[in-house]
């Protein structure tokens, strides 16, 4: 994973509560065995509507997506995160997230920013009034800023999630530091497994 220190650029206000991962990337796209190329499928059913916010030229090239409540509920598909990243988003700001989505995002370096609804509404008002506004998500200082409006708001990340983003650490590598402990656990947690019993029949 590449390190992420700061995400900056335009921010596009999606609105809508309960944006589920089936909307972010419809199931049809999940048949692919590749990890890249999902950006074309991002919100593909909603993008058929010419008025959909992602189709508006003033938000072209945005790097920050602003959701509302419970962004990324439903299916565990990490493809939703791949699609957002592939499309060009590097951070999602919302007041709450689906647990599995947020977890997947952390693994892939998509920055998840939780803002309380009042602060989120202020940010949405700012980028709605002027879509060209430059917005910054600073992972090091844990703050979202709209510099030209003098607006800023702190956000929280789990210390380990923040460190992994800043360092670009690979989770598997981190866990394999505990190889000896895993082996020790397995030696006291042994016996024939149900899968082995089934395979032997």
């Amino acid at each position: 994973m590449r390190p992420v220190r700061v995400v900056e650029g335009r921010a596009v206000p999606l609105g809508r509560n309960d944006v589920d991962t089936d909307q972010i990337i419809p199931s049809e796209w999940l048949k692919r065995v590749e990890r890249t190329g999902f950006g074309r499928g991002l919100f593909s059913e909603w993008r058929d509507d010419p008025d959909f916010v992602l189709n508006r030229p003033e938000y072209a090239g945005a790097t920050i997506l602003i959701g509302a409540e419970r962004f990324g509920t439903g299916s565990s598909r990490e493809h939703a995160v791949w699609a957002l990243l592939d499309y060009g988003f590097a951070a999602v700001v919302a007041s709450s997230f689906g647990d599995i989505f947020a977890n997947n995002a952390a693994k892939q370096g998509l920055v998840i920013v939780r803002l309380e609804p009042a602060a989120l509404a202020e940010l949405v008002a700012l980028v709605t009034a002027d879509p060209a506004r430059h917005v910054t998500v600073d992972v090091e200082r844990l703050v979202v800023e709209v510099p030209d409006a003098g607006w800023h708001h702190a956000f929280a990340l789990e210390p380990m999630t923040r460190e992994r983003l800043l360092q670009g650490w690979d989770d598997i590598g981190l866990s394999l530091r505990h190889e000896a402990e895993i082996t020790a656990f397995e030696s006291r947690h042994g016996g024939e497994t149900p899968v082995a019993r089934l395979a032997a029949r």
Binding site: D22, I100, L174
Partner: protein, 468 residues
């Protein structure tokens, strides 16, 4: 110190390491794999020269993409076919046991784990699928993960995990006749909302839960994620033990009794405290139907389509208006006057033998309404064989239902079983999201008995309304 919850016991027993300032490293006992969320994970292993650490703790099946035609019919969609082939190639290369399309043990991953006895009490179980919560019905900590975590578990048999908060949902009283586990879980989601369980592991308890069969308990745990909870749990009791006895993955004789004695400890202590508690009067519940585009948008079958005017906030009103427009519904319409085009009985929520029995009891001697397409898709080949041994296939066929081969089928638009734009479906699956069953399709979640009655009536109906 107070007692421990079932969740605490399961978590504590699987701690491998507690590095300071980092999440706990948790051991994973069973990793279930399917074709959709695994190809990129196996690629990651190859890229880094890693192997599958414990093939004997890993089990794969093909379910999401498989057509529900007889196995001899080739997979027409080349992208789906390739994904199924890649699963076979990966399992062969990494030594993982696979039940491919047509195998006697093949089926929906959350149906075969319990029925084969590989999902057991006291385990940690993961799968790249959010409905992994199903296996919590056995007193196991089971939750869905993304593809990065699939790769992580394949490589290390562990996952870094923060301890979740605990929520007790107590279902008091017994369900009334005609009210099923599906109605119960829809009522729970209606109460908690789509985010009410976020950050929590839910333990379902109370008289209504204890009275449910294992299959009904799986239906309840299955939809925990629809209330935002990654995992649902039910304490082990004699119903759990008797369900497991004799299953292929379970030991026999004295080793079974030893295992059962250990399994009986997977209950919350009497004095355990939960972070949140919710109590629901299960005895007062009636059959449920979803009307909207998220699983918390639920009404009684006896009710009417709600109005945006009754919403508590602007956002909520917008959400209701958007859902009504998508669903093509008018506020105030009785659900019983809403006609359907398709009825789907299947999915990891409701495709087990009891579900098929409940539906067959309603349709026996009756006929599917003119113009309605009705499908029954058993959750696995074992379910299909057991149902056929009882003659259920003939009951469904005589009524005009299609009796199909096992798979995820019309639960999600990844295989040929899909709605056409604008079609309305009474479905025993778990998600009524926009486009979930096919682009433009309109999904109403119901129980197997209500789905069956709806197929006969051609509109939403309770079994009593279509009784001969």
């Amino acid at each position: 110190m107070g007692g421990r919850t079932l969740y605490d016991k399961l978590f504590d027993e699987h701690v491998v390491a507690t590095p300071p300032g980092e999440p706990t490293l948790l051991y994973i006992d069973l990793h279930l794999v399917h074709e959709v969320t695994s190809p990129q994970a196996f690629d990651g292993l190859r890229l880094n020269g890693r192997r599958v650490r414990r093939p004997d703790r890993t089990l794969a099946t093909a379910d999401h993409n498989v057509p529900t035609d007889p196995p001899a019919v080739p997979v027409a969609d080349p992208v789906s076919r390739r994904q199924l082939e890649v699963l076979e190639e990966n399992c062969a290369e990494f030594g993982v046991t696979l039940f491919p399309r047509g195998d006697a043990n093949q089926g929906i991953v959350h149906v075969i784990g319990p029925e084969l006895g590989v999902s057991q009490p006291g385990m940690t179980i993961v799968c790249g699928d959010s409905h992994t919560s199903t296996h919590g019905a056995l007193g196991a900590l089971a939750f869905g993960i993304g593809t990065s975590e699939v790769e992580h578990v394949l490589a290390t048999q562990t996952l870094p995990q923060q301890r979740a908060r605990t929520m007790a949902v107590t279902l008091e009283g017994r369900l009334a006749p005609g009210v099923s586990a599906k109605d119960l879980v829809l009522a729970i989601i209606e109460r908690l909302g789509t985010g009410g369980g976020a950050g929590h592991v839910i333990e379902y308890r109370g008289e209504a839960i204890r009275a449910l069969s294992m299959e009904g308990r799986m239906t309840v745990c299955n939809m925990s994620i629809e209330a935002g909870a990654r995992a649902g749990l039910i304490a082990v009791d004699e119903t759990t033990i008797e369900y497991l006895r004799g299953r292929p993955g379970v030991p026999e004789g004295p080793p079974f009794d030893e295992a059962a004695a250990r399994w009986r400890t997977y209950v919350s202590d009497d004095d355990a405290a939960f972070d949140a508690e919710v109590v629901i009067d299960a005895a007062a519940l009636s059959p449920r139907v979803t009307w909207g585009t998220n699983p918390a948008q639920v009404v009684a079958l006896d009710g009417v389509v709600p109005s945006p005017e009754d919403a508590g906030s602007d956002e909520e009103r917008d959400a209701v208006e958007r859902a009504l427009a998508y669903m093509g519904l008018t506020p105030g319409t009785p659900l019983r006057e809403v006609g359907v085009d398709v009825v789907f009985i299947g999915s990891c929520t409701n495709s087990r033998l009891e579900d098929l029995r409940a539906a067959a009891a309603v349709v026996a001697g009756r006929s599917v309404a003119a113009g309605v397409r009705a499908l029954v898709v058993p959750g696995s080949h074992r379910v299909k064989a057991a149902a056929e041994a009882e003659g259920l296939d003939r009951v469904f066929a005589a009524a005009g239902f299609e009796w199909r081969e096992p798979g995820c089928s019309m639960c999600l638009g990844m295989n040929p079983d899909q709605l056409k734009p604008g079609q309305r479906c009474a479905s025993t699956s778990n998600r009524n999201f926009e486009g979930r069953q096919g682009r433009g399709g309109r999904t109403h979640l119901v129980s197997p008995a209500v789905a069956a009655a709806t197929a006969i009536a051609g509109r939403f109906a309770a079994p009593a309304e279509v009784a001969p």
